[in-house]
Amino acid sequence: MTKRFGELTAVDHVDLTVAAGEIYGFLGPNGSGKTTFLRILCGLLRADDGSGRVLGHDVIAESEAIKREVGYMTQRFSFWEDLSIEENLDFVARMYDVKNRRQTVRESIEQLGLAERKDQLAGELSGGWKQRLALAACLIHRPKLLLLDEPTAGVDPKARRDFWEQIHQLAAQALTFLITTHYMDEAERCQRLAYISKGKLLAAGTVDEVISRVGLTTWSVRGRDLAQLAEQLRKTPGVQQAVAFGNSLHVSSTDAAALQRAIAPFRHEPYDWRQIPSGLEDAFISLMEHDRSTA
């Protein structure tokens, strides 16, 4: 798929396959084209180039069929703030011609745990509750595929955990998810990941595959005055990243030998060096940095 906005190529030949029943994470820095890609999939934007199938329907020609079977949760809350929770759900149910509408809506409200607040206006809900309402509304027509655009932005940790519990339960019932997120812990909860930057797909696969594809070597160092050390290391050729993690510093590079040479002068007291497996975040930051330096 390719999508251009004037000069800018927001999605640049992104080629992605999501298997049925999978939870697929879609990551990338701000403005990398995640939202644009999801919008193309559900027919909100017309791709300039490329083709694809969603649930067996052609993305370009059969967007109406796709809309009926897909639930799309927008990045920004996009339900009607001057309608109550119940009215919003009822409206959505009607738009999808849901059978047993009243009962479905009632069940949905009960599942949300909002039975006693169902007459409250959606605009009066807190950010976290808005997200939950939006998810409930996306599920009301029992879609087969859910496209969730940063569904947990601004949601507290407990609610985020509940949310992911629910996602996993639904995936077990053969629902497919394509979820964008900026949280590493959420990325790690996905079965497979794709990372895009400036509209280009840079890596895709399972968490381990993505990490190993980046080919990063990481050392952890403990000791005093780490901030000062980090400063010095960042200036040293051969070090690509020096990032503070609590009481330690993660120093990494895609060139293991060069990194070894670079840190050699610092391998003495009071520093305690240890090689560790690279994390997803190290890998992503590396991808981002690499992208910046080549730009």
Partner: protein
């Protein structure tokens, strides 16, 4: 494969219900919908009710006899007229009228008294500036009986026989600058059309742009809705609002301003439905073109101005230049004004108004079709 994607009444009902609820919650808009007709009626009603007096007048008194003066005294005593000038020639009078220094020139000819005594029904010419008929019509309307009563005293006795017949004088009123003389009765029915045009076009003009600005459009578009469902669903609720406005105006017209209602109210209701739909369709079409609510409002005014200027509300339609008449024929307000004045004032029936009604319906259909064609189902 899947069943074809058809027009769904379930979805249409859903959109109508949503619009109704949102309208109910949007206090400001709702208040505006009722406030505008009330405010406009009060303002215009004040102008209509105000009974202008002491209007400046000039007199050309060529008569040497006493009866010419009798007429002048009668006019002065009525308090409608205020004689500011005595002119010597007709041209002088005309110039005063043109400059707006007087609203009337009363022309009492030479030998008026003599002719009166002879029973020759001498002519009294009153030239009036009728650009503002509201101001002049009451005064002019009173003239006939005013003169008759005044002269009755003088004509008592020997000339009493003249008084009863066709009036002792031949009163001629020339309304200048506005030969059709739009009276107050024309204004209230016209006001109905003007108010509906403004509020109906505006309210649906905001309908789609509001969804766009609030970001809810992205959601609406991600659902399997059809353009026709969305647009019709957004039009229907406001038809009711339009009817409420019509009712308010009709009640006020009849009870406050005593506008006669000669024709059938039911017919008026049918016509109003088509007219309201035409304006709502126009608005919704603007809404699909405008990028934001401000643009939608600007487009509304762009449509509203020619509507009041070229429809015959402001200026007599037949008095306009040819090109203006042609433009005016396209506007729904033009046809609605003709119909509504016909029904209310002349008691027109369906046969009299059907041509205009078809033209209105055609406008509504074309506007809605353009709207549906223009409605974008994508965000770009």
């Amino acid at each position: 494969m899947k069943q074809p994607h058809r027009f769904s009444f379930q979805r249409l009902r859903g959109i109508i219900a949503k619009e109704f609820t949102q309208m109910r919650r949007d206090r400001l808009t709702f208040a505006m919908m009722l406030g505008i007709p009330l405010l406009q009626l009060t303002l215009f009603g004040y102008a209509i009710n105000s009974d202008p007096r002491h209007l400046p007048a000039a007199v050309l008194l060529a008569d040497q006899g006493p009866q010419g003066r009798t007429l002048l005294y009668a006019m002065k005593n009525s308090t409608f007229f205020n004689f500011v000038r005595q002119v010597k020639t007709e041209r002088e009078g005309r110039e005063l009228l043109e400059r707006g220094q007087v609203l009337f020139v009363v022309n009492i000819p030479e030998n008026f008294s003599r002719d009166l005594w002879r029973g020759d029904r001498p002519e009294v010419l009153v030239e009036a500036d009728a650009t503002d008929p509201v101001a002049t019509s009451t005064a002019l309307g009173s003239l006939g009986s005013l003169f008759d009563t005044a002269l009755q005293n003088d004509l008592k006795g020997s000339l009493a026989t003249l008084a009863g017949t066709s009036g002792p004088i031949d009163l001629r009123v020339h309304a200048l600058y506005n030969p059709e003389v739009v009276t107050q009765y024309n204004i209230v029915p016209g006001l109905m059309g003007v108010i509906l045009t403004m509020t109906m076009v505006m309210i649906t003009g905001l309908a789609i742009t509001r969804e766009r600005e609030r970001g809810t459009m992205e959601n609406l578009l991600s659902m399997p809705t059809r353009p026709s469902e969305v647009l019709i669903g957004k039009i229907v609720p406001y038809i009711l609002v339009g009817y409420i406005q019509v009712a308010v105006i009709l009640i006020a017209a009849s009870f406050l301003f005593h506008v006669p209602i000669e024709g059938s109210i039911i017919l008026l209701g049918v016509v109003a439905l088509v007219f309201i739909a035409a304006n709502l369709a126009m608005g919704i079409t603007f809404s699909t073109i405008a990028k934001n609510q401000l643009q939608a409002v600007q487009m509304t005014f762009f449509f509203f101005l020619p509507s009041i200027l070229l429809s015959g509300f402001m200026f007599p339609f037949r008095g306009m230049p040819r090109w203006a008449q042609m433009l005016g024929e396209v506007l729904p307000l033009t046809h609605f004004l003709r119909i509504v004045r016909g029904i209310l004032l002349k008691g027109n029936g369906i046969a009299d108004v059907s041509l205009q009604l078809w033209q209105l319906a055609l406008f509504a259909l074309v506007a809605l079709t353009i709207g549906i064609k223009r409605y974008r189902q994508t965000l770009d």
